[in-house]
Symmetry: none
Subunit: 202 residues, 4 copies
DNA sequence: TATGAATGAGTTTTCATTCAT
DNA sequence: AATGAATGAAAACTCATTCAT
């Protein structure tokens, strides 16, 4: 391997460390206190260096979001590929989607970024794309369940998927904002019972 | 009426104009561009004067939110009091909750304020209180429907109310952020079909 | 006088003090070291306050330039109105135009701002307008000299005025940049002898 | 030729390409947007590499200026050596000096660098030297014209040369800044008519 | 020669908030 | 009640420059 390639690889690693640390910092202190220099301090590097890779803070946050969603997307793909009943897959899907708890960084970031979407076109595009991924995979999961006779034939797959995802978003918001009575366990329970009604198991 | 009372009443009106204009400005340009002095300009007054009434910008936003929710709460109360079938009331409830369209000011404000809740205790309390109002009234609506035999006896009212409200939040977010295929009409359709499944009409 | 008017007047005075101090600072240390906070320190105020009036540093510099040219324009008008021979007026015009010496703030500013004109439309407009003022007044001066029989009949007034002003610009640049042998006295001498050739005195 | 010499020559060529590209970039977008990495991109190399040759950006700009003036100096020398009347030579000198048009790179660079001269000693020295070259050659041209009886005996050569060059600077500034009515053709006309008055042709 | 990762000082700008009048 | 002058903290961002490889 040439020195150049090594250097390039170092950069890759550095970038990924930055994204990971950004998510961790958000999880610990919230996005409000995530300044460029605070993040640089955590990483033992300089603010300039972070922006050397990402250009602007907005783009850094977008990259962090994508990186975090990328990991979930992989878990989702793995989940879909497992040999499980559709019921079980759906249950795991719900668990995957909902926040791990108060201050879940992925959701903290989403809530913050929603506010910026109206004035940030690349962000809107990213959100659309990410949402589409969840919708597509949930539809696939449901369709397969129908095919296997686990869910009612005639299930309106896209509509039910949309509704379930909207419901999960609403529940997630509540969890991550710490609304009274909206911890992960309770919300998961709500998600499950609603799912059972929206997508009747035969 | 004394001069003092007249002045006080004038102050009330002035404050209400400020809140209304704040909501309009947010609907037009988003909260990010709503600075104190921009708002003052729209009102033909000074930033100092607005803060003379509200103390801080955060309190102004909170007041604006409360003012906007207050109006909805009144419509809600009126709705509950009307002589309509529970089905019909539920349908109107959904229409009342969902955003009027892209950039609906109430929802724009919510999305912006969610991001501030983690670091703003009074805001969290207000949110809780407002959400409780919707939950309480939806529960009442459902309970009455059960009582009248319109909804299944044994309906788990609080759970279904929570789920429906979470779903409405999720749908609303999408509408107000302008997600593809998430206009008011479509979202209302999703809300209706999901409601029919969550709260089976007999 | 109302308190409001007094406050407003205070603001005016404050703005003018800022412009004056900016020019003085430029004369003393050059434009390179004129940062917003350095200027604020000199004025015993805050950087925010300066930008409260001028919005951006660019606009502050433009205002400073205009303020400084305004003063010269008044001197120019006074000069044109005096009862002097055209010869004498022309001589005084040259003295007025040329820099007072190395680091003359007006010229320091011009040289700095020339570099910004290609990317700054308001600045270009201001420059055009200011140059037009000098051209117009020099043309008037020459025309009157012709009329009075002091300068050759048939003098091509606009052309000669343009040439003389261009020459003065060139000389001024050299003075203010401290080129060898280009002090004010020598440059004035060059200006005079060139003027005598371009605009023959009868 | 040794490998070392070949490499050295390659380096020369690389450096010259850099200078040329710098001038082109400046002509296209102005100096303000000429960052090291922008220039590196245009050249398909890295910022570090450019500085490997030039050390600092200031030195690069200075080298670019010198390189550009070097070419003009050669044209000037060629001009002086040609068998032409002094009148004709003077006319060609004016054409050589004035900018080719709006955004002429040599002049764009000059205007930008003037602003840096007060704080950059090597730059000042270079400017002096380059100006001296023009002055020296113009004096030689005029002196020869006098000698040949083309220009008035008794012509104060150094003074007239200074004045003409100052005038050319002033005209050039206007052309390159795009002042109204200051295109190359008009400015050349002004330069010619002023030259005819300053240096009377017998 | 050549790269590109890393630095970090330095500057403008924004805006809620205060307060004398 | 109303103004608007004044504050000042905070933060993003730029970019020439260095240096290990």
């Amino acid at each position: 391997m040439t020195a150049g390639a090594a250097r390039r690889r170092d950069g890759r690693i550095a970038q990924e460390r930055m994204l990971e640390e950004a998510m961790t910092a958000i999880a610990e202190d919230g996005l409000a206190t995530l300044t460029m220099s605070a993040l640089a301090d955590r990483l033992g590097t300089s603010g300039g260096h972070i922006l050397y890779y990402f250009g602007t803070k907005d783009r850094l946050l977008l990259a962090a979001l994508r990186w975090s969603e990328q990991q979930l997307a992989e878990e989702r793909t793995a989940l879909l590929g497992r040999r499980l009943t559709a019921h079980r897959k759906l249950a795991l899907f719900l668990e995957l989607y909902l926040p791990r708890g108060l201050r879940d960084p992925r959701w903290t970031l989403w809530i913050e970024l929603w506010a910026r979407i109206p004035s940030n076109e690349p962000l809107r595009a990213a959100q659309q794309e990410i949402d589409d991924g969840w919708q597509r995979d949930l539809e696939a999961l449901l369709a397969k369940g129908v095919e296997q006779g686990r869910f009612a034939a005639g299930l309106e797959v896209p509509a039910r998927a949309s509704e379930l995802l909207a419901l999960l978003d609403g529940l997630s918001t509540r969890v991550v904002l710490g609304e009274r009575g909206a911890d992960r366990a309770t919300s998961l329970e709500r998600a499950r019972s609603a799912a059972a009604l929206l997508i009747p198991h035969l």
